[in-house]
């Protein structure tokens, strides 16, 4: 059976690079599932949960905003944050969420607002992935 090469990179490092059977992505226009032999495709992703299905097992990752390039044999995700479910520190994420929410209540410039908003989404994505994994 054909597999997909899933690559997830951030500016700081290559987070994930493995052959998987299926990928589910949080696209800007809704969640989508990618199987091998997909037509070449390009879109943006928003902050959320990425699921990689591999040999009957699901791997969960929290990702930030970014771009995805899909060819028949490869899914390349470029994002500003990517973290595996196992590596997520729930306490830290929760704290980050609270901090970001507190900051949002203050008066901020547009630029700061965007940064804080992004941080909030990151932490929310992490929490979402972590809590779901436990269930």
């Amino acid at each position: 059976m054909a597999t997909l090469k899933l690559e997830i990179v951030t500016p700081e490092a290559k987070i994930y690079s493995e052959d998987v059977d299926m990928v589910t992505l949080p696209g800007v226009e809704g969640e989508m599932g990618i199987y091998p032999m997909h037509v070449p495709f390009m879109t943006q992703v928003k902050s959320g949960e990425l699921i990689a299905k591999k040999g009957g097992q699901d791997h969960f990752l929290a990702i930030g905003e970014g771009f995805v390039e899909i060819t028949g044999s490869r899914v390349a995700v470029m994002t500003d944050m990517a973290i595996k479910a196992d590596d997520i520190d729930e306490m830290k994420a929760e704290e980050a969420r609270k901090r970001a929410e507190a900051r949002l209540a203050e008066k901020l410039t547009d630029e700061e607002q965007a940064t804080v908003q992004a941080a909030l989404l990151h932490s929310l994505a992490q929490l979402h992935v972590k809590r779901r994994q436990r269930r």
Binding site: E7, V9, T10, P11, E12, A13, K14, G27, V28, E29, V39, P40, F41, M42, T43, Q44, F67, E69, T71, A76, M78, D80, E111, T115
Partner: protein
Amino acid sequence: MPSTRDIRRRIKSVKNTAQITKAMQMVASSKMRKAQLAALAGRPYATLMNDVLAAVSEGAGDFSHPLLEKRNGGNKRAVILVSTDKGLCGALNSNLLREAGKFDKDTTFYICAGKKGAQFIHRTKRNLAAEFSYKDNPQFAEARAISKFAQDLFLKGEVDRVDVLYTNFINTLSQKPEARQLLPIGKIHAVEADVQGHGGGGELKKPDVEYLFEPDAAGVLGNLLPHYLNFQVFQFLLEAKASEHSSRMVAMKNATDNAKQLVKDLTLEYNKLRQANITKELLEITTAQMAMG
């Protein structure tokens, strides 16, 4: 004629200096390794980014974007000057600032990253548009702030092109100041942070497949271009940091070696003087004895 005590004091002080420079060398070398690794870690992202951009610009047809627009006539430019915060890194900054001084004083605005560059702009009374700082391990957010500022200047029409002047890291022993055009975006070049020194070049290979876009090509491109610029600035920061640390390491190594040589020479002089003194004393004693006898 210095006394033995003077020389002894001198030796001690030179030894202290050597110790400090040695410590700085160690610190710089460990930071250098980290900086080089960081530049390397960005590479997969850079490659991917280029592939995607090539694919998008190919599939988008005649799409034009303000960031791609070449302006004729205007000659105002902004220069992003990536220097260091601290000195003691050999000729790195003087080489860089010599290049920085070559731009036309009246039509150039400088955007400084790093204190040394900003000081130079102040001293030579050039136009300083903004000053940014970046940490020892540059963060993407820092690069984004700089790049955003440059894009705003360009989009508002205050400048007609933006260049980046930074120190390209070739290898540990050699770094070269280099100017690259950032805006308008011309041909998309590989932004690979090549720590071995074949720094960015190479045309992109054209993809041989047609892509579908969601929501549409223009939308994706519109978001991708600013991001591409941010990332390029980030790579420049990483390169500059790698250069800084290697340059400092080499400078400090030279300083340590010189200090050691100096200690050697001084020790020799000290021993000579000491022996001369003993001989003199002996002579005095024997002369006195003979006179008495």
